[in-house]
């Protein structure tokens, strides 16, 4: 950042809500299927079709709103009118001046409190594929194909206040928001796959002032890196314009992978959406009872999960990883059930970047850690068992004892191990002398020999303990 200036960022984040069906139609809201197969008359905007609101989408929106400390308010859907081929009705149904969630905040870890202006429900558009035209861009295209499978997918648009002061803080905000969404099960929130889309409103101002200058909205930010780079680029661009006695114009800009933003040709009617209340839907007025029900069903939020992980000795970076993977409930649960905190956290950070990990049962993880600390499994074996546990977690058949038995990870009898250790000492007399003389490093020779003899199934820690016993005897 150039001295004398500060960056001002507000983020608009669209997330696809994790419902089974669309916002206003009972078509599956699934991706990857054949084009135009997950559509009903509503998704295609067929004449005579009518929308009916998905209760689950509303509940997810309310849960996100509550997690963002918003007020849950009565709300009305409006129509936003504009023509585009992937908008089946040529209007988008969205909450306009009465969003369901408003006036909240999000505390960014290591940053500041960012105000949440609103979070509102709206429907997604279909997908247009442009044919011909160099590198898939529109210019020079010979036509386009439209798939309405995505049309009508529920989106929650979360709009922050311009309280974000840097690219790093913006990135942290999105990460924290993502952790909340995952924790709530409200969205899978994948930036790269578009189930979470971030637009950044960027401006600059003289450091220390609280004015709001002309902002530009930057789109096409498909990763946190793009978000950070785009903010830095755009802020610098504004500073240079001001320095040259010029000023930015309010517009929408596109982030491209060449590391620049560039202006989008504005559509003529872009500023006249002719919003009016959607007459095919009735007002939404969640009563206190319903809001309380949704609140009561909410899981523990990331900030609180992190605090509890810190309490049991977890480093902040590790806590962040565990929360980010959605593993906090099972990790904290296992620790509460008596599992060694350090071992549990180590597994979660090192060995559980796996699909299905978040589905592990608390009891299963706890007993795995106990098997390991009691010497029934070596660290290597525990890792192997964990991998299979994750594969089977969804089916609920991830019992570590059964899996260890399947893998032949029988706990070695104590006298068997002692015999192997004695054999290793006998085979390596020089090393044994060094060990007895205090060279702890050479313990590796004996551990290696025992491992070799047991094809890796022995517990290295137990071997070391026996060596110390023999030396001190």
């Amino acid at each position: 950042m150039t001295a004398g200036w500060e960056t001002v960022v507000g983020l608009e984040v669209h997330v696809e809500l994790a419902t089974d069906t669309k916002l206003f139609s009972a078509a599956p809201s699934r991706f990857g299927d054949e084009p135009n197969t997950n559509v009903t008359p509503v998704c295609l905007g067929l004449p005579g079709s009518l929308p009916v609101l998905n209760r689950r989408a509303v509940e997810l929106a309310m849960a996100v709103g509550l997690a963002l400390n918003c007020e849950i308010r009565p709300s009305v859907f409006h129509r936003k009118n504009y023509f585009y081929p992937d908008m089946p009705k040529d209007y988008q149904v969205s909450q306009y001046d009465q969003p369901i969630c408003s006036d909240g905040w999000l505390d960014v870890p290591g940053g500041s409190r960012v105000g949440i202006e609103r979070a509102h429900l709206e429907e997604d558009a279909g997908k247009t594929t442009h044919l011909g035209g160099a590198d898939g861009r529109i210019h020079g295209a010979v036509g386009a194909l439209v798939d309405y499978n995505r049309a009508g997918t529920p989106l929650l648009e979360i709009v922050s206040r311009p309280d974000i002061g840097s690219a790093a803080e913006a990135s942290a905000y999105v990460e924290e928001l993502r952790a909340i969404l995952l924790t709530l099960g409200a969205s899978d929130a994948r930036l790269e796959e578009g189930s979470m889309r971030v637009d950044a409103n960027i401006s600059v101002r003289p450091a220390g002032s609280d004015e709001l200058r002309t902002r530009c909205e930057v789109k096409n930010l498909n990763s946190l890196r793009s978000l950070r780079n785009a903010i830095d680029y755009e802020a610098q661009r504004h500073i240079e314009l001001y320095a040259a006695g010029d000023a930015p114009v309010q517009e929408t800009r596109h982030w491209s992978e060449d590391g620049r933003t560039h202006s989008l040709r504005s559509k003529e009617e872009a500023d006249d959406y002719r919003y009016f209340p959607e007459p095919d839907l009735v007002p939404l007025a969640p009563d206190d009872e319903w809001v309380d029900e949704v609140r009561a069903a909410m899981p523990e939020l990331p900030a609180s999960q992190r605090a509890r992980l810190h309490e049991c000795g977890t480093e902040p970076e590790d806590a962040q990883i565990i929360v980010g993977r959605g593993l906090a409930p099972v990790v904290l649960g296992a620790v509460e059930a008596g599992a060694d905190a350090k071992r549990t956290v180590t597994h979660a950070v090192q060995n559980l970047a796996l699909d299905g990990a978040e589905l592990l049962g608390i009891d299963h993880l706890a007993s795995l850690v106990q098997m390991e600390t009691s010497g029934q499994l070596t660290a290597t074996q525990a890792k192997a068992v964990l991998g299979i546990m994750c594969e089977r977690a969804a089916a609920g058949t991830a019992d570590p004892a059964a899996i260890a038995a399947e893998l032949g990870f029988e706990a070695m009898a104590a006298d068997e191990l002692e015999a192997l250790v004695d054999q290793a000492i006998a085979d390596n007399p020089e090393a044994w002398e060094k060990f007895c003389a205090g060279e702890a490093k050479v313990a590796g020779v004996f551990v290696g020999a025992v491992m070799k003899a047991t094809r890796g199934q022995a517990d290295g820690q137990a071997v070391t303990q026996l060596l110390v016993q023999r030396r001190d005897a």
Partner: protein
């Protein structure tokens, strides 16, 4: 002509075959629809198959339902799976929906047999059926005159004896006004009483489907079948459906009937003065309501008084502004509802160099003059800088109307007025838009409030043409409305059948 009641009971009893009934009506359609042009599509083959299935059911001892074997005509803005649903527009010419409207399902499930799809003003925008892309429908009483609109095809079909029942849609009077002009009964139920799922939208917060029939009992029978909550329509009211037919025999003794001052002059004799006149009855009568029509309304009020009702006059001041509010809100909703006709997914496409040009050329070629005018009017009423002055203000007038009706219904059980300010007019006679829009002066207020209203024939006016009286009731008050309508029907002077129906030979069994 045979009523739906008679047909259904005979087919259910096995004394008459649905197939024979159908052929009678198809024969009349073949003979006369060339003159009337009530139908865009006659679905003879499908109807024959459906009628045969009804007969098979009846012979097999299964009850085909309360409308067993009754031919029914559907307005061509109701979606029928695999059968062209055009809205009388070039835009949707030949479009075959992949689904049936809820009312179409309900009628079919009750044993009714679809005989065809009826003509309308394009996208239901009009009051004469002159604005159909496929040519106008003619009034069976006088082929030189309009049947009214926009459900003119459905009204003419029932009046001409092409079907005992038809369904239409009423956004600003499009069932009641053509019923009035064609001398039959037409009901606009409470908004939300009948599902709109599968009705091609014109103005969503006004549109409501309802029946046409030659008498009140048949209309009530059809209303019974199509009413009820539909989870596919968010604006559908989750209320129990009363037995509408049971309401017909109840007398009007003790009912309080208010004649709406603004819509009904005092007449030559100062009639309808019996009973109290609560509230402010001093509303000024609106211009343009013909004297002969007013006379019939006053006679109808007298007839109700004779039958034991308490009759008074009542002012509903907001009706003065109804027309204006309606002609801002309805086009606004229409401008959005009709945006989807862009050449992408169904219907007409005129090719262009890019999507935007394709949209513009398609919509130029696909929409008629009146539809374009209303889309642009509605677009304007919603556009930046004009919303508050037009659309916003009209929504407040809508609330005013709601309140004025509430006040009137505090003192009266039903309200009475003309349905149409005039009898059937000649083609081209009301070419100026405002002149045409004034056809809806009396019907629009109930669309603004969402309350039920219906038209019942009550004598004739100029040139012996039918006059309809409008009975209005508060939301979900269809039973009382029907009680009063049945009483009016009993008291009404006999209405001559249309010349068409009179010359139609009666060859089928049961007539």
């Amino acid at each position: 002509m045979t009523s739906a009641h008679v047909i259904a009971s005979e087919v259910r009893a096995g004394t008459r075959r649905a197939t024979d009934v159908l052929e009678d009506f198809l024969g009349r359609v073949a003979t006369h629809d060339g003159d009337v042009h009530a139908f865009n599509t006659v679905t003879a083959e499908q109807a024959r198959a459906a009628a045969a299935a009804i007969d098979a059911a009846a012979e097999g001892g299964r009850d085909p339902g309360p409308l067993a074997g009754v031919p029914v005509a559907f307005k061509d803005n109701l979606c029928t799976r695999g059968v062209a649903t055009t809205c009388s527009s070039r835009m949707l010419e030949g479009w075959q929906p992949p689904y049936d409207a809820t009312v179409v399902q309900a009628m079919t499930a009750a044993g009714a047999v679809m005989i065809g799809k009826t003509n309308l003003d394009e996208f239901a925008m009009g009051s004469s059926t002159e604005h159909s892309a496929f040519g106008p429908t003619r009034n069976p009483y006088d082929l030189a005159r309009v049947p009214g609109g926009s459900s003119g095809g459905s009204a003419a079909a029932v009046a001409a004896g092409f079907a005992p029942l038809a369904l239409g849609s009423d956004t600003g009077g499009s069932i009641r006004q053509p019923a009035s002009l064609c001398g039959i009964v037409g009901i606009k139920p409470t908004y939300g009483r009948v599902s709109r799922y599968g009705l091609v939208a014109f103005a969503s917060s006004f549109d409501q489907i309802g029946p046409f029939a030659t008498d009140v009992a048949d209309a009530a029978l059809a209303l019974d079948v199509i009413s009820g909550h539909d989870p596919a329509d968010s604006t559908s009211i989750p209320a129990a459906v009363p037995d509408f037919e049971a309401a017909l025999a109840r007398g009007v003794e003790g009912l309080r009937v208010g004649v709406v001052s603004e819509l009904t002059g005092s007449g030559r004799n100062g009639a309808a003065t019996g009973g109290p006149a609560p509230g402010d009855a001093a509303g000024e009568v609106l211009d343009g309501i013909d004297a002969d029509v007013t006379e019939r309304v006053l006679e109808a009020a007298d007839a109700l008084a004779d039958a034991g009702a308490t009759v008074g006059r009542v002012s509903v001041p907001a009706v003065t502004y109804g027309l204006t509010a309606y002609y801002l809100i309805a086009p606004a909703e229409a401008s959005s509802n009709l945006a989807r006709y862009d050449g992408t997914r169904y219907g007409l496409r005129v090719e262009g160099a890019d999507v935007e040009e394709m949209n513009r050329l398609t919509r130029r070629a696909g929409f008629g003059d009146e539809v374009k005018a209303r889309i642009m009017l509605g677009t304007f009423a919603l556009s930046a800088g004009y919303y508050d002055a037009y659309y916003g203000k009209a929504q407040r007038v809508r609330m005013l109307t709601r309140r004025d009706f509430d006040a009137a219904y505090a003192d009266f059980d039903v309200l009475l007025s003309p349905t149409s300010p005039c009898v059937a007019f000649r083609f081209g006679e009301r070419a100026d838009p405002m002149t045409m829009y004034r056809c809806d002066t009396c019907t629009i207020p109930s669309n603004l409030s969402g309350d039920p209203a219906m038209s019942v024939p009550f004598g004739t006016g100029a040139e012996g043409l039918p006059v309809g009286v409008q009975v209005m009731a508060p939301a979900l008050g269809e039973e009382t409305m029907l009680t009063v309508a049945a009483a009016l029907e009993r008291a009404a002077p006999p209405l001559p059948k249309p010349p068409l129906a009179a010359v139609t030979g009666s060859t089928g069994a049961g007539r």
